[in-house]
Subunit: 226 residues, 2 copies
């Protein structure tokens, strides 16, 4: 499949790398490809510059948000939650129309210190905001409640014996995303229901952040035992 | 141990019944014991009248909130979240002073329809409100993210192979509650940290409610796979 991954951070790199490995035709979208590839220093989180990452993945194309989205059949929102709507606007509603947007972002608000809070929750969600802003696209919330490594390599914790969630209004779009998640190695994919159920998975960030602190590692996942 | 369980609903009955079965000296607190035992009809949820439940448990004592708390070494808040602070006020700060309050309630707000939202979240929690209101007591959040059956019979789902959380500022109080949870059959008890970490477990209600709807059963639990 031709897939655009919007966002070049740890999550974007993990998803784009995995999709490339699986044989998809991947474009990574960024605001300014020239500026992104000009960077030769690690970013603020200590991640190596994207040019090194791209050099190791010759099939992956770096493009503007709009170019990446225009050429894609499916778009992954791997930006930070606070930037997501603006980035998707840059990608352009016309370039996103008729396509599945897999929203794996979280509405984290770092302005009140650590741990972050959520800038939308309980009566609305980031996924719903995106769906309302892009009514011609079908948004599917997925993967947001585990870290980047667990997203693309579920077997790295507990041999993959844990659960993941999808939310969305469109059954066909959820089938496509379910197929992608299975190809990543996820085995227990629970369809929570319509896009409003993303309120549930986004609010899991509150427990995720406390577990990260208590366990001292982000290498964990949630299994729904029943 | 002498334990007061405040609240006579499904959760209160489950907890009080289990504690009685384990040999504790249990008082169940209610607003008006006379009115409670006078009821001969099932309640609004179809639960049998408390007089029948009490008749089957002759060692369990029904008392006012204040009497139950006064005679107890440990107090369980099994009321609905919206009533919790008022009920604990009725129990009386002096009767709660120096004691562990195990808070298993959730700040559910049913005023906006179903599923309920949370009337406090993210920057505060019900457990913190209780701790602030009763500074002479030590509050431990526990068990709120599973239903009453799973609380007291964890083996009823997945043979008990799942996780539960505690939050609280007092290490000794958390040790006492950990012991109780183990006696219920919980095996993976994760100490999230101070009482503010209850924001994490209370916000899990959002995913709990969606899973309840999606799975069609409340008989599930969360295992933290790591």
């Amino acid at each position: 499949m031709r897939i655009a991954v919007l966002g070049t951070g740890m999550v974007g790199q993990a998803i784009a790398g995995k999709l490339d490995e699986l044989g998809h035709e991947v474009s990574v979208g960024t605001r300014d490809p020239g500026a992104t590839t000009a960077r030769t220093e690690p970013d603020g989180y200590g991640n190596p510059p994207l040019r090194d990452w791209l050099a190791a993945r010759p099939r992956v194309r770096l493009a503007t948000f709009a170019d990446a989205a225009a050429g894609a059949e499916l778009v992954v929102n791997a930006t930070s939650g606070g930037a997501s709507l603006e980035v998707l606007e840059s990608a352009g509603a016309a370039n996103l129309a008729g396509k599945v947007i897999v929203d794996i972002a979280n509405p984290l608000d770092f302005s009140h210190g650590m741990p972050p809070t959520l800038f939308v929750k309980d009566t609305d969600s980031l996924a719903e905001r995106i769906q309302r802003a892009f009514p011609e696209s079908t948004v599917v919330k997925a993967l947001n409640m585990v870290n980047a490594t667990v997203m693309v390599d579920p077997a790295s914790v507990g041999g993959g014996d844990h659960s993941t969630f999808i939310s969305g209004d469109d059954v066909g779009a959820k089938q496509v995303v379910t197929g992608l998640l299975k190809s990543f190695g996820h085995t227990d994919i629970i369809d929570l229901g319509d896009i409003s159920t993303a309120r549930g998975s986004e609010m899991m960030l509150a427990i995720w952040l406390r577990l990260y602190a208590a366990l001292g590692t982000p290498a964990f996942a949630f299994k729904i035992v029943r």
